[in-house]
Structure formats: C-alpha cells, structure tokens
C-alpha cells in the first residue's frame, strides 16, 4: 500500500474453523425484519452465519421490514421444508399465522430479538434477545439518574414498531422525552434535521439515537448547532465505538446482536440434534448491556471484527 | 353514406328554420382576442361557408358552436334557446357533430374505436354492458368504404393511417353522428380530388336531408359549389356576410385573397407547357 490509512492486511480469516457447510444435514431459515443495509442486522446475520459454519448447518437468511411480507418469507421457508426457523417477532400478531403454520408442519421455531412477551403464545420454542421497551427503559433510567430532563429520541424509520418501543421505554423512565422523525437513508438529512431541532429547542439535554450510524450524524449535528446535549445511543459499530472511546458519545446500549444470531441457530441445531431446550423454558436475555468508557477498551477490538 | 345522412337526420327538421344562432360572440385566449362581435345563423337545409385567412378565427368560431371552448362574450342560441356549452357532449346531444381541424382522434386506438368513441353501441344500459363490437367494426368499415377509403385493417391504430385517411375517418364519424347540424373545419384539406368530391357530395346530401352545415374551407370553388351563405372572417371579425344570391365566385375569391391572386399568379408563373 502506497498510502496510509487504508486496509490493514489482517492475514488469516478470523472467522475460520467450523465444519463443511451443511455437513450436519440441517437447513435453517433465518427470517428478520431488517431494512437492508442496517449495521445492527449485519451483526445478527454475522452471528448466525458463524454458528451455521461452526455447526455445519445450511443457513437461509431472508428479511423484509413489512410484517405481511415477513410472514410470507416464513411461509416460503415452510414451503421449502426447512428443518428449523429462526425469526424475529417484532409484530407477533401479524406473524402468528405463519409461525403456527410452521409448527403445524412440524418445523421448530425459535424467536429472537423481539417478541419476549409473546413468543410462547405463538408456539416458538425458545427466545434469544433483549426486549426493546426493556432496553429503552434501562437506558432511560440511566440517563434519568444522570439528571436528564428533556431527552430527544431520534426515530430513523417512520412507523417502525421496534424503534417506537425503544422510545416508549425511554419515555417511561423520563417523561420529558420527545420523539423526532428523521430520514435515516440520508446522512445530510439526518444531520440537518437534528440541527434544526436542537436550534428550535435549546432545553434538550440528551440525544438518544436508535442506531449507531445515526449517532455519528448526531455528533455532526451537535457540533453545527453548538449544542451541549449529551449523546447516548442504541447499538454499536466500529466507528461509534471509537466515539465512545474519545468521549463524544456517553454510552451505548448493546443487546449483543451477534449473540442473538449465533444462539438462535445454535439452539435450533441442538434442539434438532439433541432435543435441548436452552433457557429452561424461559427467554434468554442477551442484553441490555452498557458500553461506556469503563469497558470500551475491551470491546473496541471486537467491533472491528463486526462481532459486537 | 349519403344514405347514412338521410337515415340519421332528425325528422323534425324544416328547411330554413334557424338551428344555431350567434349574436355578437367573442372569444379571448387570455390576452389574445381571437374573435369579436360575430353574428352567424345556421339554418336547417342550408350550408354556411366560413372563409378567411390563416389565423382569422374560423376554428375558434366552430369550437364555440361545438362546445369545445365557451365564448367569452355575446350569446349563442340553439333552437332558439340560449346556451353556453360546458362540454362538447352537450352539443353532440343536441345533434351537433364536428370535424375538427386537428381531427380529435386518439392515435393509439383502433380505427373503429375512434369512429365510435363517445357514442358507442352497447348491448344494455348497465355500466359494464358489452359493446356491440362486431356491429361497430362493420359500420365503421362500411362508412369508410363509402368514402372510398379501404383501410387494410379496421383494427389498426389510427395513428398509422395516412393523413388523408385519418381525415376521412373524422368526417365519416361526424356524418354518421350528426343529426341536425354538421360542422366541418377544413375537411378537404388533406384529401385527394376523389375524396374531396365525396365530401362535397356529403355536404350537399346533408343539406338536402335538412341538416344545417357549417363548412370551413380555403377553397372558394369548393365553398361556392355547395354554399348557401358565405361569411368571411378577418382578424377575428366578420368582413363579409352574404347569401348565395348576392355574391359570385369571383367576388368571393377576390374578397378572400384580397385581390384575384390566383389568376394573377397563373399569369406570373406562366410557362410553356
């Protein structure tokens, strides 16, 4: 390399190891409500793929943010006669029919990421994840403890159930919470909208972003508006971890998406192979865990590998 | 098709009775004054020829009578009752059919659909009643043949016909649906000698069947062959309004061209043959 700052050759593929793909003979469908290109889901998927590799499972990942279409994806997995289905349950009522048809066809279903309260009712066997409103509440409690009066919760996707419940969680702990809609597909739009909001309401003391890329835009906006509001966020990525390290972001709340993906696949594998039930009949919580200056040094290297 | 005319003509028409009357009619397109103070009377069994230079306002005049544009001043009476058409449908429903200068055809639609557009034959009164397609295709083909036009496929989009063929479709349509008044805006412009002759015969036949005809043309000979009444427009105003008895073809030509141009032209361009 004749210029600095680029890729560093890391040599070995660090996700190595594992069995030959499909050596276990199991095919698992993994269905999420990801909006394509989201760093959070990228990690869920990375975890799932690593597990599939480790256990020799063939993984079929698919996603659609529209509840009806997600149900369709589950249905097509049933049509394809997969051995197990892992799915997010962010809109349990809408997915109930599809999940039931899977159970009816004798295909085990595992829930992840969202649907803590309803997964049993739908007939899913196990659950790995945090709970959006629980995560929101814990974040809210923490900033309330730090004296937050008027946080701004930034929703980057209109009408998203999971984002709305995060904000609702924050509000349940800090009643002064205000929501803001931004166009998450456009960084400059996010930045200017935040900038405008900060100019409009000087009393905002905390900015709560719901995704790591949005937090990076929020840093820009804060600078532009010379606001002294503190910035906290959901989810992690590499860039954001660095911002925690240099103190521009107070903390991030992490529900360990990699673990959600990894465990969902692994639990299905174990259930199919060995009849195991992980969690002992209850949900397995992967978060919320806080990432702040106290533990960032430990976590930073993992974010670079896209596993946290 | 001349028989078509006789068949479709309103039976209550009586020769000489005024069908359409315009008094002091004017029309502005925004800032542009296209017509002002026009008086015109279309009588049953009479052919009123409207002549005039390009841009004189002839098309504007007939657009008012056919309901395409409302007039901005003056009054328009049909069968003695004052009217102000909101749409061409209202005029059509009074039996006033028009051949527009730009033909008003829908290029992508089949010939027969264009022929019957707006006046389709249906097999029932409910909205989704089927059209009598076979009959419509037959009639369209037949009426076109009467004009000497044989399209190779009555199902081809009208946009693929030649200019004259399209003109013929528009004329045939108006003749077929015009029951009381027939308005023709330069119908023979794109036509060959033979087709022009057919159109002139239609006009005569319409007159004989008792219809009122408004005939716009640039050809004084054509006008004089069939006209009962001549109106010459110039820059939006009437400059001549005369009955057949009071003008000769030469008068007409002179008035229109502002001097007997064509004769002079023949002389000017004269060359050995």
């Amino acid at each position: 390399a004749c210029s600095s700052g680029g890729r560093e050759d890391s040599g070995a593929d660090d996700s190595g190891g594992g069995n030959a793909p499909g050596s276990s003979g199991y095919t698992i469908a993994f269905v999420t409500h990801e909006t394509p290109g989201d760093t959070f889901w990228d990690k869920v998927r990375a975890g799932a793929e690593q597990a599939a590799k480790d256990e020799g499972v063939t993984l079929k990942y698919s996603n659609d943010p529209d509840a009806g279409k997600q149900a369709g994806l589950i249905q097509s997995a049933v049509d394809a006669k997969v051995n197990g289905i892992a799915t997010t349950l962010v809109t349990p009522d809408a997915l109930a029919g599809a999940v039931k048809s899977a159970s009816g066809a004798g295909i085990p279903v595992v829930g992840l990421n969202a649907g803590l309260d309803q997964y049993r009712k739908l007939g899913a066997l196990m659950y790995f994840g945090s709970d959006e409103s629980l995560a929101g509440t814990s974040l809210g409690k923490r900033i309330a403890g730090e004296g937050a009066k008027h946080p701004l919760c930034v929703i980057h996707q209109t009408g998203s159930v999971s984002l709305e419940s995060r904000c609702a969680g924050v509000r349940s702990a800090v009643p002064g919470t205000e929501n803001l809609q931004v166009n998450g597909a456009d960084d400059s739009a996010v930045t200017t909208t935040l900038q405008a909001k900060l100019a409009q309401d000087k009393s905002i003391d905390y900015i709560v972003t719901l995704g790591a890329p949005i937090a990076l835009d929020a840093i820009n906006a804060k600078q532009q508006a010379s606001s002294s509001a503190k910035l906290v966020t959901f989810d992690l990525n590499q860039e954001m971890a660095k911002r925690i390290k240099d103190g521009q972001v107070e903390f991030a709340i992490d529900q360990q998406p990699y673990v959600q993906g990894y465990m969902a696949v692994t639990s299905l594998y174990l259930y199919l192979k060995n009849g195991n039930d992980i969690g002992g009949g209850g949900p397995v919580l992967t978060g919320p865990s806080f990432v702040d200056s106290s533990n960032i040094d430990k976590i930073l290297p993992f974010t670079e590998k896209n596993t946290r | 098709m001349t028989d078509t005319l006789a068949e479709h003509a309103d039976r209550n028409l009586r020769r000489g009775e005024p069908l359409v009357e315009l008094v002091g009619v004017g029309k502005n397109y925004g800032p542009i004054r296209a017509l002002h103070g026009i008086d015109l009377r279309v009588g049953a069994g009479e052919v009123t020829c409207v002549l005039g230079d390009n841009g004189a306002g002839k098309s504007t005049l007939i657009k008012i009578i056919s309901g395409l544009h409302p007039h901005t001043s003056g009054r328009l009476a049909v069968d003695g009752a004052d009217r102000r058409f909101g749409s061409p449908r209202e005029a059509l429903d009074l039996g006033i059919a028009t051949v527009y200068q730009d033909l008003a055809v829908v290029p992508l639609m089949e010939v027969w659909r264009n022929f019957f557009l707006g006046s389709e034959l249906v097999s029932g009164r409910f909205p989704l009643a089927g059209m009598r397609i076979r009959e419509m295709r037959r009639i369209a083909d037949q009426e076109l043949r009467k004009m000497g036009i044989v399209v190779s496929d009555i199902d081809q989009p009208i946009g693929t016909l030649s200019g004259g063929q399209r003109q013929c479709v528009a004329i045939a349509r108006a003749v077929y649906f015009g029951a009381r008044v027939l308005i023709l805006d330069e119908p023979t412009a794109a036509l060959g000698v033979k087709q022009s002759g057919v159109v002139l015969k239609y006009i005569a036949a319409a007159r004989d069947a008792g219809l009122g005809v408004v005939f716009i043309t640039h050809n004084p000979q054509h006008a004089y062959l069939v006209g009962d009444h001549f109106v010459i427009l110039k820059r939006g105003a009437t400059v001549l309004d005369a009955a057949r008895g009071s003008v000769t073809l030469t008068d007409l030509t002179t008035q229109m061209a502002g001097g007997d141009e064509l004769a002079e032209l023949s002389r000017e361009l004269e060359r050995p043959s």
Partner: protein, 356 residues
Amino acid sequence: MIPATGQVAAPGLARRRPGLRLRALLGRPEVGALAAAIVIFLFFLLVAPSFRSAASFLTVLYQSSTIGIVAVGVGLLMIGGEFDLSAGVVPVSAGLVNSMFCWYFGVNLWVGAVLSLVFCLLVGFLNGWLVMRTGIPSFLITLGTFFVLQGANLGVTKLVTGSVSSRDISAIDGFGSLQKVFASSFAAGSATVWITVLWWVLFVGLAAWTLQRTRIGNWIYAVGGSAESARAVGVPVVRTKIGLFMTVSFLGWFVGMHSLYRFNTLQAGNGVGNEFLYIIAAVVGGTLLTGGFGNALGAAIGAFIFGTTSLGIVYAGWDPNWFKAFLGVMLLLAVLVNTYVKRLSTAVSPREGGLT
C-alpha cells in the same frame, strides 16, 4: 340518392390477411409480458429446487395477488393517463380506519368495514376531483394525499392506541365472517390457496372485460391517449378519470381489509413504497407510462413477474445482500423479453408510432 363513387373499392383488402390474425394475437400488449413471466418462472424452476412444488407456486400466487389486486387498478388508471402515489398507503389507512374505529367504539367490525370503504372511495374521489379541478398533475396531487395519509396513519394511530400499530381485533364481533370474505384460505392437497388469489382473478377478469368490451373501457383508453380529443368527441373525461381514481382506492380498501383480517393488527407505518410496486407491475406488464396503452391482464402478469422474482430469489437461497441486484437484473430481463416478443409481432411500437 347519388351513388357514392367511393363505394367501388378493391374488395377483400379490408379482410384480414391470414398472417394478420396471428400477428394481432402476438401484438396484444400482454403477450410479451406473458412470455417474460414464463421465462422467469422456468428460470426459477431450474435454479431453485424448493421452488418446484405446488405449495411454493401458491405462495407466489398469493404474494402476487396482494400486489396484483391494486396493480390492476393502478394499471387502469395509468392507461387513463394518471398516477396514484397514494395507492400504497390507502390499504393501511383502510385497515386502520376499520380496526381503530371498531376497537375504540366497540362496534361490529362490519360497520367499520363499510365506514372504511366510504372513506377510501372519498379519498379516491378527492384525488380525482382535485386533479381535474386544479389541472395540477396527478403525480403531485396524489403525492400530497400520500404524505397526508402516511402522516395521519401514524398520528391517529398513536393518538388512539398509544402505539404505532393497531390493536388486536380478533375478538370483536364480525371478525369471523369478515375473515371468511377477505382472508380465508383452503387446502388444495398439501398447499394452501388464499382467497385473495380468487379475488385477484375476478378483478382482473372484470378489468379486462371493462377495458376491451365496454364503453367505459373505450373511454379509459381515450382519456389516456388524448384527453382533449376524447373530450371533443363527447367522452365524459372528468367522470372517467374520477372513476378510475375511485377504482384504485376501492381495490386498495380491499387489500387493506385482507391485511387486517389476515394479520389482526396493522403497523401504521406500512405500505410506503408499495405504490411504486404497483406502478412497476403495471409498466412491466406493458402499460405505457404516458397513458393510452396497456392492458389489465398485462398488469396482472407484471405483478406475477414481480412476485415470482422476489420470492424466487428467496427460494433459490441467494444472498439477500444482493437481493435487489438480482431483482433488478430479473426485471430488466423480463422487460427485454417483453419488448423482444412485441418486436417480433409488430413493427410499430407506440413509442415510434403516433407522430410522423
């Protein structure tokens, strides 16, 4: 009277030449689309083993029907020369009106369904009326409606239920019967047939009949091909166009009812972007964006192509990161096949024809 000289004409020339009938068939706008659909379908049969089952086929049909029902309306509207961008959110609004009204006041769901129908027809009427009244392009008017409905969906839902999705209504009176009408399914062998597929077939048939065989169909082509000419020959342009807008919102209402009674709850933010899929389906099926040309069956086939492709990629198990890229290539492929087949059959495309 005078025997018209013109009557003497080469006999038989207007008779259709033998080759013409086949050509006329091939020239129909939907034939190219059909060929494209078959090519795409065979392709996925080849590459995706799990695609080769009746169950998969019916899932594809179901998916296509949920797009296709509205797409047929949008296709008609586009043939009539107008756009409707609000078509994506109308189904959600329809469902929300029904669901929240009945949940809030605790009345029978049938009441809400009728109310919601009236609401949707009103939206369609308003779209059409504003377009015709102001002369502003429908693209802008319905863009406005789209935004207003999208905002209202969210705002009202939060106001009424406190969250961004409607409440579960499966316990309210009338749910069972409404579900039967809009969202039932029956088994056909190992596969499930959803009733929307049947409704879809019905609506397509109705639309095809209307377009080809009724005067209203004639008017639709005419107002799209040349509104001024249509008006000049007495076609009720305003009524026709308003009717088309109302048709689209009626079909939107229908799909909204299906979603509601299939999923019990609705997310207020959904539906955005679907308006686009409807337009895509119609255009892939051979509808001209500028109006005046197209076909109900074509729009249906367009929806089927879209449904097949988007699920086919899933059945084939291709990397979802590349999903859109595959989708794009498949769409282009479909359009190319469509165009190629049409070229084979006619020399004059509507793009070339018309002028000169």
